[in-house]
Amino acid sequence: MKSMTTSHKCNYSELLNEKQLEAVETLDGAMLIAAGPGSGKTRTIVYRTVYMINEQGIDPKEILLITFTKKAAIEMRERLSELLDSENLPFVGTFHSLCLTILRNYSFKIGIEKNFKIFDPTDQIELLQEILKGAKKKSLQDLLKRISKLKNDFVAPLNAPFDLQEVYRDYQGALKAKNAVDFDDLIVKTVRLLEKHSEVLEILPFKYISVDEYQDTNKAQYKLVKLLAKRNGNICAIGDSDQAIYAFRGANVENFLKFGEDFKNMKLIKLDKNYRSTPQIIKASEKVIEKNEKRMQGDLCAAGEDGPLISVCEANNDYAEMDYITQTIDLKMGGLSRQSKELKQIEDVNEVRKFSDFAVLFRTHLQGRVLEEAFLRKGIPYQIVGAIPFYDRAEVKDLLSYLRCIYDPNDENSMKRVIRKFAKGVGETTIEKIKNYSIVYEIPFYQACLELDTISLTNDVKKSLGNFIKSHENFRNFVVENKLSDLIKFVCEKITYFEIYKDKRRQDNVFELIGYSLQFDDLPPYEGLKAFIDETAMMQDKDMYDQSKNVVTLMTLHASKGLEFPIVFISGVDDGLIPYEFDEGINEEEERRLFYVGMTRAEKELHLIYAKERNWFGEKTEMKKSRFLNDIPSDLVQEKFQERAIREKKKEVADEQESMF
């Protein structure tokens, strides 16, 4: 009798195709797996890991799997725990989580305290704000991007462009003073550590290393991989030169292309059988990508059955483009409401569709907002990936901050936010003066606000702050006698909230928030307020793609990587958008890859839409169809046209007559 584990024994040759199997069984030395879209990449990595542990008896601790995103790591771990002992899995994580683990143990060797803090982008901005007082947030974000690029390229402040030297140095100094590192530091510092202290490299347990999405590694990550592989040379890089789309973040597809130079005698395995899409979609995508020069991939072929032609739709303008998308969804769903034209078309829909079968992809976030509008208007359920979550929206946050101040005037952060926003003419300088006063006299910030007369401020500012304090006290009195929802309505009215936020969609969010507060109306006033504040603080809705939701997904081409949907629309396939024309020109190869990534997300149907005219930054702009569309052979294409539908009037309604009563 064999042990229990035999029940998990896999028949690899049945589960994998020939090339996948070859990759699974190659463990020693350097290997590059060039995996086209939908070619079973994750499957191959998973079974390779299972093979190492179950067949070769390799200790899971010796295996390191680096993924590109946290989400990918979680999914990989889930797949592995189905096949392996979930208590004893290899290290699966991103570059950041790996580096964090290493630094937590050895950072002292390069002079970083063990309990260092990690600064996320919000912390980084705040830090820069302290360094450059009064700078605009947008400019700080740009600054951070540039500093980040320098750090990843191992450029020291001294060698930075002249205008950055000082702030870069001060920023690093401030991080150090606060015993903090940022995300870039995690990797850069780890590389430093391993370069200087090779003994650490020796202690690390990893003997079998695999790195996913290798084409998207930047210089620092690339260096780290080379260091880690130095030990025994068992390195497996997986990726697709055609799906390298992160150049703007400093990734370099060259890392992938010159893998063979870095690791001599490497083995190259090409996974070129696509199990995701129809032959039509694959052929069209291949025709688009083969114009690129920087690539390694061969011809991808589709394993699946024939499907419909690629729909290429010329829309009169961007509204017509939205109509095409929403009407097609309506039609494929067999009509969503009695107002649907599709119900009148008496066509029977063959496929059973659900909302989550559809994705709409686009190049820029701005397009996403226009699309969202169209989905709202039609009432089609959707999620927009990368949108600002409800509780992070300014109109929601501001109001909640106000309520927090009313509950507790000594909630200093909220008080500052509210004063900045609602006390007219009161800015950072004033807030700082009050803050200093409160420090000197050792009183709470709010108390300092009440002692305005003794702080040196202009009369205008005093008056404005005085009014603010007065209405604030007024609200605090109002709480005692009234229901929570009435308090919120009262606040909105008094601070003319709907004048500040005129946009209908923002107002709807405020209504939604007020609506939620109603469930606390029966609690005693302060308790209700407290309960509401606590409840909303707990609310965390994600901006990530949520597979479990039965809704249409709207997202950028970048965000779509790694996902798949039965029906995909790519909107805005216009020159200038796809390829995107930056101020500094077009990176055509990168843009072509991005379009290729989008096309290969589709399993059954692909719809490419361009508009002859669109609103672009508030101006009507003539557009031309994307040059990439010319690369798709016409025998794979079904051309369509969409004119702007006349906005549907409210029907079946007897408004006019009723007004007579």
């Binding site: 107002q339 009148k344 829909v349 909302f355 609506g515 469930q519 009723e658 007579m660």
Partner: protein
């Protein structure tokens, strides 16, 4: 005192509805029509919900009234003959579009909440799942059963009633994207479904033919999108005015407290017969079967109407009935009767003037249609109209059945009974 309740309506925040569908005009029209308890509709809509919380206050447990300062304004516009107290019940219709057992399902359900707190919680939960802001009747990719679970998790005093269960496209038992039984739709939670809405295109006798509906109470509402259409179907109660009492009466199908329903002639509904609207082709189920379900004009499958669908699922013969069956009564909206007599559109000035004349002199519409002595009616209006009302009361009308979204056409008078302004007495 018996009273009428219309529990499924839509506000102006739903798509394709009248701008007039706001709390004030609902309050006014409920009085003109004779409705005592009216659904708010659309309570998931954030802006409407805030409006509800502003303008309504709880009057009896679970029932709300328009605050005095708003009501006073409206009362001036209501003829004294119609003035009455009006109560609101929190309600919303949800369109669930999802797939189950390998089929695309589109089911409309009405949800009721006993208070603002419960409604608020439901809104919060549904808001997380989908978008409740753009349509007062939100479309969610949410399984009906899951919806039921959600509202029950908020309170066991929240109820779900499948809406107009027989319409082909958007109903629990609809032919196009519905189920074959309550059980198939709600599984182990089926016993939480104790009432269903029959919709305009079916009447209680049609529903009695399915033994699977023996244990549910049939309710009827207008599903109005504009004020004039309110009360075209109604529920009649004779119980204490409170949310729990009304629901208890419905749940038990207690004929002492839930007296029954006022019904459209089912043929008048939009989906009674089979057919194709674009082909202007309609037929009764027998003919459809003879034609193998295909349209005679275009050869494609016809839209199967309620009569056919019920025939398919029925396990009792026509005329069959169970012990719990409750009384019902047919009626036709007053403006339709006037419209037929005058041979002008239902929305015309002439019809509306006469409608207004009748209700100001006699009382609300339901009183006129069901109770007012015909002699009284004759005194204030055309004899033809009085006669029309009498014939409707007697069920003495003929109807060309509706199909595929097309309303049926009612005729009270025969072609030779022409109305002539100068010789009104020709009728007799």
């Amino acid at each position: 005192m018996p009273f009428f309740a219309d529990l499924h309506i839509h506000s102006k925040f739903s798509m394709a509805t009248s701008k007039q569908m706001n709390l004030e005009s609902l309050y006014r029209w409920a009085q003109l029509k004779g409705i005592r308890v009216i659904g708010t509709g659309d309570f998931t809509h954030p802006e409407y919900f805030v409006e509800i919380s502003d303008k309504l206050e709880e009057a009896e447990p679970g029932l709300f009234k328009l605050k005095k300062k708003y009501a006073d304004e409206i009362d001036k516009e209501v003829p004294e003959s119609c003035r009455a107290e009006v109560r609101f019940m929190l309600s919303v219709e949800i369109s669930s579009i999802y797939s189950k057992n390998e089929k695309c399902r589109k089911v409309h359900n009405i949800v009721f909440a006993p208070g603002l707190k419960e409604a608020s919680k439901i809104n919060q939960k549904l808001g997380k799942i989908g978008n409740i802001k753009s349509d007062g009747r939100p479309i969610l990719g949410l399984d009906s059963k899951k919806l039921l679970e959600i509202i029950l998790s908020v309170s066991d005093r929240c109820y779900l009633v499948p809406a107009h269960i027989w319409t082909p496209h958007f109903a629990m038992l609809g032919s196009k994207s519905g189920f074959d039984s309550i059980k198939e739709c709600f599984d182990e939670l089926s016993d939480k479904i104790f009432a269903v809405e029959t919709g305009l295109s079916s009447d209680p006798p049609m529903n009695w033919r399915l033994s699977q509906l023996d244990n549910v109470t049939l309710i009827s509402n207008s599903d109005a999108h504009s004020p004039i259409k309110l009360a075209r179907e109604l529920n009649v109660f004779d119980c204490e005015l409170s949310y729990d009492e009304m629901w208890d009466a419905i749940r038990k199908g207690d004929r002492k407290r839930f007296l029954g329903t006022i019904e459209f002639f089912p043929e008048e509904g939009k989906y009674h017969y089979d057919g194709h609207r674009v082909c202007e082709y309609s037929c009764d189920p027998k003919e459809t079967k003879k034609n193998k379900g295909l349209c005679k004009e275009c050869g494609k499958p016809v839209i199967i109407g309620t009569m056919h669908r019920i025939e398919d699922l029925a396990d009792r013969k026509k005329g069959g009935k169970h012990d719990r069956a409750l009384p019902y009564r047919y009626s036709i909206p007053l403006y339709e009767i006037i419209s037929e007599v005058y041979k002008v559109g239902v929305g015309s000035k002439k019809v509306l003037n006469e409608y207004h004349n009748l209700i100001s002199q006699l009382g609300n519409e339901m009183y006129i249609l069901l109770e007012a002595p015909i002699d009284d009616i004759k005194k204030v209006t055309d004899l033809f109209i009085a006669e029309g009302i009498q014939r409707v009361r007697d069920g003495n009308v003929s109807v060309k059945p509706g199909y595929d979204g097309e309303f049926g056409e009612i005729s009270i008078f025969k072609d030779n009974e022409k109305y002539d302004n100068k010789s009104q007495m020709q009728l007799f």
